[in-house]
């Protein structure tokens, strides 16, 4: 039978406590993941002056539009949903604004349909006779990139791909929309 001498005890204690180290490491990694998650979830809205997050919108008629490809134009991105009553307030004004700028060719309107179903969405577009490109926010990827908080929200991107204007409520008139777009246009 092996005797436990003081030397043996010292040798046993001098080994690294791997169990404890692993436990602490695991705890540290878990806390780091939670911290990263909390930080990203508590990020505020995108701000004016920051580069507009890029996205590709697949429209209801299957056309694919990428924001980056529209560099050099002013892009009006409107988040809406067919179940959203405030969206109805601005729908006609947005369409009127689109028709006003359409012939210039340097202003693009994009409608992003958020957490909606296709049949009511198509009925909504038909009801307000909306003709600018519209498509669903597949996987809510676009709204997450813009960190939207609801609908309607409108983001206007300038010719350099920078966010120039943000509206987190419905536009109240065509004049208000024009006032947001006109300063961004080259004379």
């Amino acid at each position: 039978m092996e005797e436990t001498t003081p030397t043996n005890i010292t040798e046993k204690k001098s080994g690294l406590p791997w169990g404890k180290l692993l436990a602490w490491l695991g705890l540290f990694i878990l806390l780091a993941i939670v911290a990263v998650g909390l930080l990203s979830s508590q990020q505020g809205p995108v701000t004016i002056g920051s580069p507009a997050p890029n996205f590709t919108l697949t429209t209801f008629d299957g056309q694919q539009i990428t924001l980056e490809a529209l560099r050099g134009k002013v892009v009006v991105i409107n988040f809406w949903a067919s179940w959203c009553k405030p969206c109805e307030q601005e729908a006609a004004d947005l369409e009127a604004a689109w028709r006003y700028y359409e012939d210039r060719g340097d202003v693009v309107f994009l409608g992003v349909d958020w957490t909606d179903t296709e049949t009511p969405a198509m009925a909504y577009l038909s009801k307000f006779d909306i003709t600018y490109p519209n498509g669903p926010d597949l996987g809510t990827r676009i709204s997450q990139a813009y960190r939207t908080t609801g609908v309607p929200e409108t983001y206007i991107v300038d010719q350099n791909g920078v966010l120039a204007y943000i509206k987190l409520s419905p536009f109240l008139s065509l004049a208000e929309i024009k006032a947001a777009i006109d300063p961004l246009l080259k004379p």
Binding site: G26, T115, D116, T117, G139, Q144, G150
Partner: protein, 156 residues
Amino acid sequence: MRKFWLATLLALLFTGLAANAALAQQPTPSDDEVNAIAKQLYCPVCENTPLDVCPTQACAQWRELIREKLAAGWTEQQIKDYFVEMYGERVLGAPPARGLNWLAYIVPPVVILAGVYVLWRGMRTWKQPLQAASPSVDVPPSDEYVARLEEELRKR
């Protein structure tokens, strides 16, 4: 005789057609069938409220979509996959077991096991000093001060 065979043939033909028509007609899915799937989904508009009890119009539209898909013969899994594709993984009540999502499944049992281990270690450590501290009646205390203290306590 010929008329008899013709009549039999027509009767069989009509019976077959009627049965086929009955099979082709999908009955409208009931609310219970719709809610069985809806309660596993959450709409981003009203967070933390399952779709089956959410009162908003957005959720009503989603339930109607489930009904349409069920009527079209889609399975529960197909409908859930469609919702994830359209609205993102956050519509699911439980995250799919892949990538970092595994943490949601692994961490709770690991933490519980670690807690049980710590408790067990703690209980063993607490028991040892108690056993060591309980003095034997026969063994006189070695410390004079302790002896006096015990003597005083016995007197009270």
